[in-house]
Point group: C2
Chain length 122, copies 2
DNA sequence: CGGTATAGTATCCAATAGGAAACTACTTTC
DNA sequence: GAAAGTAGTTTCCTATTGGATACTATACCG
């Protein structure tokens, strides 16, 4: 009979839990994966491009999320010396390390939807 | 010069975007990955076990998140015919399909933390 | 019969997330 | 000179999230 014995008290689990919290704090929110996925697909895009690509997002959220992602070195922002001024957003090398995770998330979501649909038919 | 041409307008991207939204709606929140991770590790645990394992969670959130996960068929809840009454929570077969995703998220988080630490030393 | 364990609910509150709309500021095009 | 495109910021508002605390209800243990 376990009272305060803990699975998660093992050092390896503590590290994993911490890591999940870390990752979630960078990637949580309604739009981060959409932005990252779009930038991985599109290479470099301007602010207005992203606004058009990501269905439903508004300027405030896009601006805020891009700042977050830039701060965490997942996205880079470059002001171009053009007239009218343009800004190029692109995924960083580090941001690219997320692409398999995003793929897996997307594929899991696709399978999940299929499974729900199949269940619905039974 | 692209005006409303869209990367994400392609059917394959639409499906991916939808899938990411689907997955996020099931998995978002502060505790879901922790609960799932703990149940994958621990196989079957009672409510109080989970409360002890998951550092910082309270009864309200644990209860609510378990209900969500159960509704989405990721966790199963079995009331045992014991005195005092006990409840066994475990990961479902379907829930187990998330384990590689959770692993990848945790590993990414570990690497991210390392990279921040290294940057800090430069 | 009081303490402790099981498994939660209910209530109240604070913080955060997110959306709509208006606005800034600059430039090019018609 | 007005419209439209660049890239945002600001303000106001609502909804969701999450936490603390107290409470219910049952049952065993001593």
């Amino acid at each position: 009979m376990r009272k305060n014995a803990e699975i998660n008290a093992t050092p390896v689990c503590q590290v994993r839990m911490q890591a999940i919290s870390d990752a979630m704090s960078l990637l949580s929110g309604k739009w981060k994966f959409h932005i990252l996925g779009t930038l991985i697909e599109g290479n470099t895009l301007g602010f207005m491009d992203l606004l058009r690509e990501i269905d439903g997002i508004g300027t405030k959220m896009l601006s805020k999320e891009l700042q977050d992602l830039e701060m965490n070195n997942l996205v880079s922002r470059t002001v171009m010396n053009t007239k009218p001024i343009t800004v190029e957003y692109s995924i960083t090398e580090y941001g690219k390390t997320l692409s398999s995770l995003i793929d897996e998330l997307a594929n899991w979501g696709i399978e999940y939807r299929k499974s729900v649909y199949e269940k619905g038919n039974n």
